[in-house]
Subunit: 131 residues, 2 copies
């Protein structure tokens, strides 16, 4: 992400991560170890912020509350695209935002859908990206 | 990695990561941010230790010298395999080990091959895996 304007960088990154359905979110655990898990990505175009559905009481939420710095990596081996996004994460429980990003396909992971009181979002502000 | 013996766990993990040619290695930077980059995996069967070729002076080497705890993630979207390995990393410059793991295909990344004085290995001891 050098040389171009911030807008150009965001646009370039948006193109690179588009179509990658699952990203790996890496967090730092209280013991200092780094842990990652797959996260469903959003179809909406990237504008500098990444959103992921989560359960509000998932362990990763506790991890980002202690250490907000996370990494989100995108791997598309078929065309050798590998992207690293460093950023800060926080839990968002805004029902309007949840409704805006909700997709019925997510019912496979959240069977109660929008009625699930544990349904929440992780908002990741991208600070640096590499590819 | 619960319930089974350590040997069974290592074997299970070996099967899950087999065939994934590129893993994402996440390290912690001095400023606390988490950064990841693609790493070529080894064809040899996993026995609890992961090995990656690197340049001895690559930024990631400096990062693991400060914070040895890393994450290695494997994504095989075509069959929905996503694996997280938490472990500790260190630089290894043993020419015998380098020769043992070397594959001429790596010349695309290290044109000088085994004569490259910067050619080194990152050894990652797996401590916890999730899938």
């Amino acid at each position: 992400m050098t040389g171009d304007t911030p807008e150009q960088n965001v646009k370039k990154l948006a193109g690179l991560i588009k179509g990658v359905k699952v990203a790996m979110l890496t967090t730092r655990c209280p013991d200092g170890s780094l842990r990652s898990r797959p996260m469903l990505t959003q179809e909406a175009d990237f504008d500098g912020t990444l959103w992921f559905f989560t359960r509000a009481q998932a362990p990763k939420v506790g991890e980002v509350e202690r250490h907000e710095q996370v990494n989100v990596s995108y791997a598309a081996p078929e065309d050798e695209r590998y992207v690293s996004v460093s950023g800060t994460a926080r839990l968002v429980r805004d029902p309007r935002k949840i409704k805006e990003l909700w997709n019925p396909a997510y019912k496979a992971w959240f069977p109660q859908g929008l009625d699930d009181p544990e349904l929440a979002l992780l908002r990741v502000e991208a600070e640096r990206a590499e590819y």
